[in-house]
Amino acid sequence: MRHIISLLMANEAGALSRVSGLFSARGYNIESLTVAPTEDATLSRMTIVTSGSDEVIEQINKQLNKLVDVVSVMDLSDGDHIERELMLVKVRAEGADREELKRMSDIFRGNVIDVSDKTYTIELTGAGSKLDSFLHAIDRKLILETVRTGASGIGRGDRILKI
């Protein structure tokens, strides 16, 4: 099953490689991994999307907790949570396609953030499935480039991961 694991870790050189190394050494899947510093500059927040049996997910949580740099781990999938991903798509926007792509972007609540005479760059945010839907909804031949950040997640309401 797909799980989205969120963790806080020391914002130190090599911390990321400890996490990614753990996943590769123990044969766990990484679907996506995002990381950036938090409001506390000594801490980074990482979101990992992974999949595995309940036993594997339990081990992933325990092994992550065991890393000395990891301060706190939360499996967001254990409760209500929100997931967002940012995607930038560059599309060929010429002739009739130009209007159609703008319309699709609006439907998906995207923003056209860069325009040239032949291209649009569209910014889209949402759950991964929404981004997938957008890519399916437009003509595949028009897609020049896609960049996705991978999911970031946060618990709903009072579910907070903080130290």
Partner: protein, 566 residues
């Protein structure tokens, strides 16, 4: 007053009460070696290969309650140390390895003797550090020692660039450590302990399975008390030997691939299993599905939550320090009005399995049987020696036939299975226990993986007794080839062996060749009588002997091959 990084390093070692540093100098650690030279509190043991430095520090740590310390230079110094670090990591041995690094301004430029030490050791250390500011050096070393010995112990590497060891800063050794992300759970959960106690009392066929955690936590006393209190048989893993006295009537010996019949059958057929400081690894329980095919309740006590329910689903998880939790468990059991269930039938069953006499072997008056050498070694040393071992058949025979009654007497590479471990580990043990008897049980294959250390033994007057069971084969490889590869002995034959007697003599030691069973006892007596000399005993043993019992890889614990089956 300001001190250089090198001075700080040595001061930190002094503050930690470090007695010995095992190491090898080189360019990147010259400042540190210079400071070592200027003081006497921390003694340095010059090995002949960095792998041996780490194994020696490891042997020192295993035989004491202290942290082992090794010091190596950058590049090849570190890469040579990696096998030793991985060995310590697999067996959770507290250790600090200090490595030199090229100067900070050279890092990343493929400088001479540069290697990414933190990267290369990352998967086989508990934690590691690259010191980038001399101001962080003292606190980093403090953290390293704290991490190495607290929680589930393990090796910690501190990589110190050469320029950092020459920069000055004010020195103050921190008295406390606070790592906000690191709080090992040492006390057990009271409710779960009660639950475990109840289960143990009500069990009809209990079994205690005790591993290296008992040794590391210095909990042999508590374990023994508990096993007697609940009237249960107790089996020890390869790492746990000595955690429960092997000569006790409740001991069923070692379990696992080469465990006794009674231990493995007991594991398979018990109704409540208490695992203490052990991790259900593949060499211990064999095929997981086969093990799980029989219903039993499992209580698992371990300091590392990640060890619990990793391979085998556990009913009662007890996370905490083995000694602490056992003490609490004993208290609960003692205060309970309930007496343990009647175990007469269970003991009868155990006795029946015991009567298979699975460690029986046919001795010979013609050819030396390796088992006989170990039994005689036990006799001559009154079962009271520190025994280190290498890896292979000799290791299993030592584990099976040298009945360890005390903890920290059996020093071997269990998890990683590192050939070449035995002799350097024995150096660490001997230095930690100067007047004591230390023997290294080895084979002609393993000993050659670190034989250069005979030179270190000479330099530091270490009167180790090397017990080489020389069967002219990589015996365990040969055994597997015999069983599973149609007797095709691919590259397992050792040709062109050195004359070990002359070799020992060349290094300044005593060598004794033993070829007849009738000479075994005499040779051992002579060797151990030479209290101040290293004696290398070259026992020419039966090359066809196999280790029994054997649970073949991938099989279940009850699918064992006994010697008499063949």
């Amino acid at each position: 007053m300001e001190l250089t990084g090198a001075e700080i390093t040595i001061r930190c070692l002094q503050e930690e009460g470090v007695e010995y540093v095992f190491g090898y100098p080189g360019g990147a650690v010259l400042f540190i070696y210079d400071e070592l030279f200027k003081q006497e509190a921390v003694k340095h043991v010059l090995v002949r290969h960095e792998q041996a430095a780490v194994h020696a520090a490891d042997g020192y740590a295993r035989s004491t309650e202290k942290v082992g310390v090794a010091l190596v230079t950058s590049g090849p110094g570190v890469t040579n140390a990696v096998t030793g670090i991985a060995t310590a990591y697999m067996d959770s041995i507290p250790m600090v390895v200090i490595s030199g690094q090229v100067p900070t301004s050279f890092i990343g430029e493929d400088a001479f003797q540069e290697v990414d030490a933190v990267g290369i050791t990352r998967p086989c250390v508990k934690h590691n550090f690259l010191v980038k500011d001399v101001k962080d050096l003292a606190s980093t070393l403090k953290k390293a020692f704290y991490l190495a010995k607290s929680g589930r112990p393990g090796p910690v590497l501190v990589d110190i660039p050469k320029d950092i060891s020459n920069m000055k800063t004010a020195f103050e050794y921190p008295s406390t450590v606070n790592i906000r992300s690191y709080h090992p759970q040492v006390a057990g959960d009271a409710n779960l302990i009660k639950q475990a106690a109840q289960m143990l009392l009500e069990a009809k066929r209990p079994m205690v399975y005790a591993g290296g955690g008992v040794i590391l936590s210095d909990a042999a006393k508590q374990l023994t008390e508990l096993v007697r209190l609940i009237d249960s048989p107790c089996t020890n893993t390869l790492m746990g030997l000595g955690g429960y006295p092997a000569s006790d009537k409740q001991s069923v010996g070692m379990l696992g691939m080469h465990g006794t019949y009674e231990a493995n059958m007991g594991m398979q057929n018990c109704d409540v299993l208490l695992a203490v400081g052990a991790r259900f690894d593949d060499r211990v329980i064999g095929n997981v599905a086969h093990f799980n095919s029989v219903p039993r309740k499992i209580i698992h006590l371990d300091i590392d939550p990640a060890s619990i329910s990793k391979r085998v689903k556990v009913d009662v998880p007890l996370v905490g320090d083995v000694g602490n939790v056992l003490t609490d468990l004993i208290k609960v059991l003692k205060s309970s009005k309930q007496k343990p269930e009647d175990r007469k039938d269970w003991w009868k069953q155990i006795a029946e399995w015991r009567s298979a006499n699975s460690l029986n072997y046919k001795n010979s008056s013609e050819i030396i049987k390796p088992q006989f050498v170990i039994e005689t070694l036990h006799k001559i040393t009154h079962g009271d020696a520190f025994i280190t071992s290498d890896v292979g058949q000799h290791q299993m025979w030592a584990a099976q036939y040298y009945k360890f009654d005390k903890p920290r007497r059996w020093i071997n590479s269990g998890g990683l299975g590192t050939m070449g471990f035995g002799l350097p580990a024995a150096m660490g043990v001997q230095l930690a226990h100067p007047g004591e008897t230390v023997a290294c049980v080895t084979g002609e294959g393993s000993i050659q993986m670190n034989i250069q250390e005979l030179s270190t033994c000479k330099q530091f007057n270490l009167p180790i007794k090397v017990i080489a069971l020389n069967n002219r084969y990589l015996g365990m490889v040969r055994q597997w080839q015999e069983f599973f590869h149609g007797n095709r002995y691919s590259q397992s034959y050792m040709d062109a062996l050195p004359d070990f007697v002359k070799l020992a003599e060349a290094y300044g030691h005593v060598g004794i060749l033993v070829e007849k069973p009738s000479d075994v006892e005499g040779a051992l007596k002579e060797a151990f009588a030479r209290k101040d000399e290293l004696v290398f005993l070259d026992f020419r043993t039966d090359s066809t002997e196999n280790v029994y019992p054997m649970v073949p890889g991938g099989k279940g614990l009850s699918e064992v091959i006994l010697a008499e089956d063949l």
